[in-house]
Amino acid sequence: MSVVIAKNLTKKYNDFVAVDHINFQIEKGEIFGLLGPNGAGKTTTIKMLTGLTSITEGDALIGGISIKERPNEVKKRIGWISSEVIVDDDLTAWENIEIQAKLLKVKDWKERADAILEYFGIKEFKNRKAGKFSTGMRKKLEITMALLNSPEIVFMDEPTIGLDVNTRASLWNLIRQINKDYSATILLTTHYMEEADMLCKKIGIINKGKIVALGSPEELKEKYGGDVIEIELKDGLNVELNKFGQVIRKDGKISVKTGNAEEVLLGVINTIGSNNIKSLRIKKSSLDTVFLNLTGGSLEEEGEFDLRKFNMMMRRARR
């Protein structure tokens, strides 16, 4: 049975459609990724699935229960990890866990909490104030809290946003581990295509509130992939390249979508004339080129991560 079934899930803020009739299913034990640039509607989708915001149209079944009709039943069965790491810094790790357990009405939470803390290697710090934890430890604490009620599904909103490369890599491992060792079904959102590629069994690509493609990373690459040759010409030049593949012009760059870049590369360079090229880059088939092929946009560019804004948010969250 599917753990999550979203049916025409829609959210409007006044007239603005943030999430537009999306449909997807998540099977038990799966890591499902919602991949899309900033503003695509990922957070809004999670908010609807967790009952944090009202649903304008459609519904979702979580463990077979309608979030619209019985939100409190659903809330008992889910785990949630925010992108900004929300724990109470003035309380100890253990007190944070205790509140969560009591709000969720989890019985025997102490044993379970101890076991998970032990598993994460932070049990000895459980009586330390959460405000004194490192970012990695705070994430682990938050994941502990999310696993307390043996949830049917754990929602992770941009779990690795703002983390340095090392912490990100270890968090990837952690997510894989809890998926295996705690048989946790996970929905994560991300705008890092390599993250979705590496972690997720199934991916929904979301853009402007719509799911534009759904499938395993391999399926998506096979279906929508293909290499892209990105060329910047010297000023004022224009060249017809349509015979090599589909051409997209944007921000002064020309992208040529083609099955295999190496096969046509020489032809492209000869057509343009090598001294007319300012820069040339080959993007091998990846989820990024899948996204480009599907939407004409780039995950990287449109998903440009605003570090300054994020740091401000983190500072606010941590005081």
């Binding site: 944090l52 809330k75 889910i78 929300i86 509140i99 709000l103 606010r316 969250a317």
Partner: protein, 255 residues
């Protein structure tokens, strides 16, 4: 069933008693009031004090008044605590659990009231140290604490209601500006009713602070207490907390 409420309430309490700044505030604020404001009538002839204040020590007069006024100020902390939880995202963490929203509201109200009541023993001790003779016994203490608790529940609810749907840091200050001064000066917390023009007397008659201040005076300075005041204060608390609980179920936002 109340486990969720008590977990949220204990969180409020821990955050209060672990903060050294909170203690500095809790102790210094009422002490300053009593010492500075309370001393401002020291050279007033004692016949005058007797006639208008029914005591020869202004500090004795102001003590129950200032305790009542401080229950007005704790309302501000309840609402600030709500804003803080929204700003730091903690409210989302709460709302993602099945705990009813009015529990959150109640925990903020009760947290604020508890904070205000911590001031009671501090203030009484300061007053006694300054030579005020108080009629302290089980009944007078229970009545005083009940009256202040009712008043605090009423005002904390009022404040919290105004911050149910906002996360603006400015909101509690604005509410304080709008209601604290008028309520404080239109009550008999600081001055007797005989000082007031008629229109102010009318307001003071419907101001809950008046009832708490008067009842506090009656029990502490050993005149015959007017028990109906306790009923009026209980009614005020009940009405405000019910309104707040109902509104929070519908309108409380997570951010």
């Amino acid at each position: 069933m109340l486990e969720g409420l008590s977990a949220l309430y204990m969180r409020e309490i821990k955050r209060i008693y672990r903060s050294i700044y909170m203690w500095i505030m809790l102790v210094s604020q009422p002490v300053m009031w009593i010492i500075f404001f309370g001393s401002s009538f020291s050279h007033v002839p004692s016949e005058f004090l007797q006639e208008f204040f029914h005591t020869n020590n202004y500090i004795a007069f102001i003590l129950p008044g200032e305790l009542s006024v401080s229950m007005l100020f704790v309302g501000m902390f309840s609402s600030m605590s709500i804003i803080q939880d929204k700003r730091f995202g903690y409210m989302k963490r709460i709302f993602i659990t099945p705990v009813p929203k009015y529990y959150v509201f109640l925990s903020k109200v009760l947290g604020g009231v508890t904070r205000g009541l911590i001031q009671v023993p501090i203030m009484l001790a300061v007053a006694i140290a300054l030579g005020v003779s108080l009629n302290l016994n089980l009944v007078s203490i229970v009545v005083l604490v009940l009256a202040l608790a009712f008043l605090g529940i009423g005002f904390s609810s009022l404040y919290s209601v105004f911050t149910l749907w906002t996360s603006d840091w400015q909101a509690p200050g604005v509410i304080a500006n709008l209601i604290n001064l008028p309520l404080m000066f239109s009550s008999t917390a600081l001055f007797p009713k005989a000082f007031f023009p008629e229109w102010l007397q009318d307001i003071s008659n419907v101001n809950p602070i008046t009832y708490s201040a008067e009842l506090g005076r009656e029990v502490l300075l050993s005149t015959d207490p007017n028990w109906s005041y306790l009923g009026i204060l209980a009614l005020f608390a009940l009405i405000m907390v019910i309104i707040g609980a109902l509104l929070s179920r519908k309108y409380m936002t997570a951010e």
